[in-house]
């Protein structure tokens, strides 16, 4: 196992990654279902109703959890995809630097999503 786990995977091992991927999926699915329910059960959405929802503490926590889940889930998911396709077998020796670059960009993107999301959520009053 040691050979592949150390470098880029998110949790400490493939098993952790697997678990994080599942837990984050459940949290995001709950969020998606909840928001869909809220939107569909509100006949005429107004700014008041919408911002009231997001300014509540519980909703902030739920949204934040979803953001963090998203970052972890996307990181692990994109890691699987990149390590499947950007490989030495398919692309030769250039694969390693390309994959590293894509992975760093993607990780940065995920971090930016979380920071941006926090700025939005805590900016609502």
């Amino acid at each position: 196992m040691g050979m592949v786990t150390a470098v880029t995977s998110f949790g400490r091992s493939g098993l952790y990654d697997w678990l994080i991927q599942r837990v984050s999926a459940v949290i995001m699915a709950a969020y998606v279902i909840f928001l869909t329910g809220f939107i569909l059960s509100t006949p005429e959405m107004t700014y008041q109703l919408w911002s009231d929802l997001f300014s509540g503490t519980a909703m902030r926590v739920f949204s934040f959890l979803t953001l963090v889940s998203l970052a972890a889930h996307a990181w692990i998911g994109m890691w699987s995809v990149l390590t499947d396709y950007i490989t030495g077998r398919l692309m030769g020796p250039k694969a390693m630097p390309i994959r590293l670059f894509l992975q760093v960009s993607m990780g940065l993107g995920a971090v930016i999503y979380v920071i941006w999301g926090v700025a939005i959520l805590w900016g609502v009053n």
């Binding site: 999926a25 699915a29 998606v32 700014y47 995809v81 993607m106 999503y113 939005i120 900016g123 609502v124």
Partner: protein, 124 residues
């Protein structure tokens, strides 16, 4: 390694069973969603900044292009979520035989098709 072993990497000659199709689309939708989150956060920001920006966003979403983009994102999210939930159910050991796997795959397509159609109705 024996480099005379047979390989088949001609994608056009590989016949995808329905279960493989569910899987590859789950992957594609996941990658697309990662980009789509930028659009979703942008919309969340616009919807929450002020009453004015909320109204502006509603206005902006009247355009056919914006509607199409929103619908595509919802379609990707709907599909990825439905296929993802099937994945979780299979992780628990349910529906792992060939027959039930195929049935589950058909269910994913059927259910997400309905959801995506409904999302289209909602957007337009």
């Amino acid at each position: 390694m024996n480099n005379k072993r047979p390989v088949n990497l001609d994608i056009a000659t590989i016949d995808l069973p329905i279960t493989a199709l569910v899987s590859i689309l789950h992957r594609v939708s996941g990658v697309v969603l990662f980009g789509a989150v930028a659009v979703l956060l942008w919309m969340l920001d616009a919807s929450l900044t002020s009453e004015q920006s909320f109204v502006d966003l509603k206005e902006c979403l009247q355009s056919p292009v914006a509607k199409a983009v929103l619908w595509l994102i919802l379609a990707g999210l709907g599909y990825h979520t439905v296929a993802g939930i099937r994945h979780l159910i299979m992780d628990m050991g349910v529906g792992e035989t060939l027959e039930s796997g195929r049935l589950g795959a058909k269910f994913v397509f059927g259910f997400s098709f309905v959801l995506i159609a409904l999302a289209g109705v909602w957007v337009w």
